[in-house]
């Protein structure tokens, strides 16, 4: 078995689903001739033709809205938003049309669409190529929101998204594209939407995260282990609908929880997880639900020292975990 990178897993999933179902097509900026700015769609235009791998003009409203329309008449669009920083114009379509289509038509029209969004910092991308922006979609009922952290999940969840019948916003953290490698099975496989994964079992506290922050949380957990603190690490994988059961069960077991997200703190994904934990399993807690998040500033700043200052990392996570343990 060869080691497959995170981005190769995505390319494989796209190619296999396009092979499997002729309704699947791709549309986005620079995805065809160029194979994508990160090469996620490399070779697909040659293989499937320009009808099914469409190089779009710089039109994020249309990339989203046109995909919704195509989904309504029998296609399975997989549009790409090149950077999460550029998704804002699409939101009119994704929020007002895509998320509400089934609802506002009494279930008559549906929107089986998977929007791939390249996101995330720690790559020196600057203010406009580092944003993550998942919380905007996380708060919108009608959308499925996924953010994988391993090649296996990237491939399996992308396949589940494409085969499903709901609009999915599928976030790909660009820091993971070529960093994370894994042996993948040769045969076809999917990963269920809505299920988190316990990556490391532990008994002293639960660390919940996703995307790049899952890897940072694992690094912290390994350091903590050497100090005698046993952290259970949960990778959410799907943000909406999130796996309440797995997180609650883990909190019941450890009684302490640390929530880690890359984006700004206020109104982020972890604010919701935190509120739900206090609503549902408050009696089991021995310490306040604690968050480690990006700074509450407009976006990730460019200069390397500021970028690193913005982002949660293993040291910050481990530091917060110690405080939770000392409470």
């Amino acid at each position: 078995m060869k080691k497959t990178t995170f981005i190769e897993a995505i390319t494989e999933a796209l190619a296999e689903e396009m092979e499997r179902d002729e309704k699947v097509f791709l549309i986005g900026e620079d995805i065809g001739l160029y194979g994508g700015v990160f090469k996620a769609t490399k070779g697909l235009m040659d293989r499937f033709g320009s009808d099914r791998v469409i190089d779009s003009p710089i039109s994020e409203v249309y990339i989203a809205g046109g995909s919704i329309g195509a989904a309504m008449v029998g296609m399975k669009p997989v549009p790409e938003i090149q950077f999460a920083d550029f998704i804002t114009p699409s939101m009119d379509q994704l929020i007002q049309q895509g998320s509400k289509l089934r609802y506002r038509t009494g279930g008559q029209w549906t929107c089986p669409m998977t929007v791939r969004v390249c996101c995330g910092g720690d790559v020196g991308g600057g203010l406009y190529h580092s944003q993550i922006n998942e919380q905007w979609f996380f708060s919108q009922p009608g959308l499925i929101v996924i953010m994988p952290s391993t090649p296996y999940d990237a491939k399996g969840l992308l396949k589940s998204a494409i085969r499903g019948d709901d609009p999915v916003i599928y976030f790909e953290h660009k820091r993971l594209y070529r960093w994370i490698k894994e042996d993948l099975p040769q045969e076809d496989f999917t990963v269920p939407i809505g299920k988190a994964a316990i990556r490391k079992e532990g008994s002293d506290l639960t660390i919940v995260s996703y995307g790049l922050m899952y890897h940072r949380s694992m690094q912290a957990a390994e350091a903590l282990e050497k100090e005698g603190i046993s952290a259970e690490v949960i990778d959410m994988r799907t943000l909406r609908p999130w796996d309440r059961e797995m997180i609650f069960e883990s909190v019941k077991k450890t009684s302490r929880v640390l929530l880690v997200q890359e984006g700004s703190k206020t109104g982020g994904v972890m604010a919701e997880i935190s509120a739900s934990i206090t609503e549902e399993v408050f009696d089991y807690l021995d310490a306040p639900v604690t968050r480690v998040c990006g700074l509450d500033v407009p976006a990730i700043p460019f200069a390397p020292p500021m970028e690193h200052f913005f982002l949660p990392n293993a040291e910050k996570i481990a530091g917060s975990a110690r405080k939770v343990m000392e409470y």
Binding site: F25, R52, Y62, M72, G74, R102, T105, I193
Partner: protein, 343 residues
Amino acid sequence: MPVKKTEAKPKVNKTGLSDDTLLGLYTNLVKTRMTDERLRKLFRQGRYAGTYFSAVGQEATTVGPTYGLFKEDIIAPSHREIGAAITKGIPLEQIFAQVYARSNSPDKGKSHPCHYGSRELGVIHPSSTVASQSIIGTGCAMAFQIQKKNNVVLGFFGEGGTSRGGWHEALNFAGIHKLPIVYICQNNLWAESVPSTRQSAVEKFSDRAKAYGFPGITIDGNDVALVHKTAGEAIERARNGEGPTLIECLTYRWYGHSEIDPADYRRQEEIDEWMKKDPIARAEAQLLKSGKLTTHKRESLVAEIEQEIEEAIKVCETMKYVEPEEAYNDVYSTAFPVRRDEY
């Protein structure tokens, strides 16, 4: 499904259409007008909630292009396209059900009084974000092209909708790919309260098509025969892979933006002038002249529609509302049920 072509050459009248076609258009115009006027009245009588967006005065711009489409063709309407919905075949009972938002409502009471749609009949339910239907409709046309289907899409919007960025993105894309779509701009001179001169500096809204590399044309939108012919030619081109057309139909809404708008930003002379150009009176005069329509036939047509309307109202007014828990349904596919909190 191919176009039905009549064997013998049909008799063509002064409008360039057969009497049968003109009568078909006229019937849909009358049905639309009568339904619309009745819905206005019902709103003022407090018989349903929300508000109502009347299209009286503009019927030819929606009936004309829609008449004669295939069932598999898609129309992507806005909120003032009751004529397109009726002409595409949505039964009056469904129109009234949508407005009354009772349990027989096609959207299960979720959206809005004027958001008539039907997947079966190829009518996309409108939404209230202006010009969205052009964007989504363009996506449907993109799918038809990928699927190598013979179908077309009609995208409807007002002149105000052409000011939105997404509208530009959609038409730009449609031009590049020569998509099978016809854009129908109903320029009724007012986008709610903003006059068309404050919407754009272009002389004609159809001039915008130049920027997208396809034909644009401005026509008298209250001449139903002309609208039907012009749209028909554009639809034929679209079906043949020759790409989109932007048709600007000059027209006028007789009443306010919705029933809660007194529309006092308009001059009475302007309203009077446009009411003289009533599209229905013009089609009717032509048909009476040719003998295809008689006063008697007209009366029985009106009586027939009146009865259909009465029956639809009766059905809807005796229908219960959906259970409030219906609010939880149709959020996702059955794979993802919505969590229900208890208070």
